[in-house]
């Protein structure tokens, strides 16, 4: 066998090893070409795991990130149960229901530390009948991320990690290499015109809006948008493109596993 043929054979073997066990063609589109266009698959890839983080006080409270992730997971809930793993059980189900998330499909799990959280996430993702698992963890290291990815591939369930330090404290800057398919930074944005009556002298609240910055996207591009909760066929509607194309593209991380 020639040297080149051997090289090709090895490359095919590596490719076979790297390929997900189940071809994950499924995507959850945002319904807007401006957002869907940056993903190689044409929408948020399912059967992978995604990471969302907040900024400032949100690192501790993680309200905007939770709202954004809950909206991303809402269409998935039609396919099965959603498991929400958290260290601090301040998630309020009536609020979730108010956002259109089917709270009766939600199984909440309280854990004591990050290790348990990731373990519970993995168990949930491996279970048939679970469409999505949402976990609140301080950070996910490369090994943990890889394990989550493998768990996602067993049944095609989608994972979401909300980066959160639930009890405050001094923390390291929340960034590290990660095996996540996408990574978002979510901050609240001022809402648009009110739908309901305002209080005297002050405008009412419109549909909640978020500033969603796609910081990393495997096989795709980055981007930033202002999105708003929508009652239409897609849970989120794009309001404006942040247009900051100068966001520097982080070096694409390749895992040699």
């Amino acid at each position: 066998m020639s040297r080149e043929a051997r090289f090709l054979a090895v490359r095919a073997k590596v490719a076979a090893m790297e390929a997900p066990a189940m071809p994950s063609r499924a995507v959850a589109p945002f319904g807007d070409p401006a957002i869907d266009g940056v993903f190689a698959e044409g929408g948020l890839p399912l059967g992978r795991w995604h990471e969302a983080a907040g900024e400032g006080m949100e690192i501790e409270t993680a309200a905007a990130t939770a709202a954004f992730v809950a909206l991303l997971a809402t269409p998935l809930a039609a396919w099965g149960a959603v498991v929400w793993v958290m260290r601090r059980d301040d998630l309020y189900a009536p609020g979730l229901m108010g956002m259109g998330f089917p709270a009766e499909r939600l199984i909440q799990v309280k854990v004591n530390n990050d290790t348990q959280a990731l373990g519970a996430m993995e168990d949930a993702l491996r279970t048939a009948g679970v469409a999505a698992a949402i976990g609140e963890a301080r950070e996910v290291d490369l090994t943990g991320g890889r394990r989550l990815q493998l768990a996602c591939e067993t049944n095609g369930a989608t994972g979401f990690i909300i980066r959160r330090r639930p009890f405050g404290g001094k923390g390291r800057r929340l960034d590290s290499g990660s095996a996540a398919a996408t990574r978002w930074t979510i901050t609240a944005a001022p809402s648009g015109p009110a739908q309901r009556g305002a209080v005297l002298g002050m405008a009412g609240l419109g549909a909640p809006r978020w500033r969603a910055v796609l910081e990393r996207c495997r096989g795709g591009r980055t981007g930033g948008w202002i999105v708003e909760k929508s009652d239409g066929p897609y849970p989120l509607r794009m309001v404006a493109d942040l247009g900051d194309r100068q966001l520097e593209t982080p070096p694409l991380l390749r895992l040699a596993s």
């Binding site: 006080m57 149960a81 229901m97």
Partner: protein
Amino acid sequence: MALVAAERGVRRLTAVDDLAAGLGLYPGQKAADAGALAPGLITDEAAEDADRSALIQLGDWCARFSPAVAEDPPDGLFLDITGVAHLWGGEAALVEDLLDRLGKNGLRARAGVAGTPGASWALAHFGYDRTLVPTEGEAAALAPLPVASLRLTPAIAEQIARLGLVSVGQLGALPRAAITRRFGEEVVRRLDQALGLACEALTFRRPPSPWLARLTFAEPISAPEDLARVTADIAVALCARLESEGQGARRFELAFHRLDGQAPRRAIGLSLPAREAGRIARLFLPRLETVDPGFGIEVVTLTAHEVEPCLAQQQRLDEPLASEAALAPLVDHLSNRLGAGCVWRAEALPSHVPERAVARRPPLSKPAGGAWDPRKPRPLRLFRRPEPIDAVAPAPDDPPVFFRWRGGPHRIRRAEGPERIAEEWWRRPLEDADPAKVRDYYRVEDEAGARFWVFRAGPYTGAGHARWWLHGLFG
């Protein structure tokens, strides 16, 4: 050596050892008389509580013979051996083994086997040791025994004996009405209980479960991997039985009977009745690490509780993915590892107070069918305790225009409200109810877009400073 206890002001012997018995001492004798008969008698106070706890411990130990053990204070135990004797090759072999093991531990015991608790008590106390009564043979077996064997109060037994009725057979031959008239109901009831004509409820230490599997080892085991292996084996044995009868159980209890008589137990609970041996054994695995094998484990028993019919289900191909059965392994795994209260599904409670509107239910329980009012805005994160904020509100009934929370300033741009939520006054005595205990909730948004749920405690009175609290975040 003898033990003494005070009984109505008189100190009497409660137990004597062999040597003392040889000197003619007997339980019930006055301590002073005994001291006169045997000047060298060593006495000690009887410890009733210690006796009682030792009996309970012995009862636990006996669970290796049958899961249904009832204590019979002060010195007896009932074992319900229905359906377990075949594990030893018959009742005789079981009794032999039991007494042999007790003897090796320095406990002298007598046993009787009969179809009723009363008859077995009589045989153990007054019959030949190790008497086995065949089915329906109680009347014949009891006939020669003294009347006291019927567990009568001593006064009545004495009264009967005074009439010249010595044996149970003689008593049974009398007309029942006459016995009742003369000695009260107790005699007839005890007689019926002994002969199986009336039923008797024993208070078992553990509710008996006929779903029991048992593994005995020739050599005691102690290695962790051995424990894991026997757990898998015993689960297979019990689950095969459950399956053959179309049953499944919600709770399993595994007991490791150690050489020193202790029996550490581990239990798991399931959300749906199940009988998959592999899954059940896996749920036990994390708990085995804490089992202390001591000098070795010689017997392992597994019991199933809350057994219900559980039909093998055929999954339809077009069935939606999220069926209860698919989720049960996950829920069981997580709740056994993290604790039962750590896995839940939120359910609506009919209460308008935000803290009380959510109930935590087991994830796979039947939904009660309540729902929250979707028109009322509720936050995504609700603080367990509202946090105080420094707020500036220009007019009495207006939302704040500015507040400071955890040191950070928030200038309000948009607001909605108020929604007035009063306390549930019907939950407390009427005189404690206070119309001022209301909260006016506002949904506010600051310049950056962060949305908060704040409330003012109490209505505006004009006097003093209104207190504001932050209760949740909308994200």
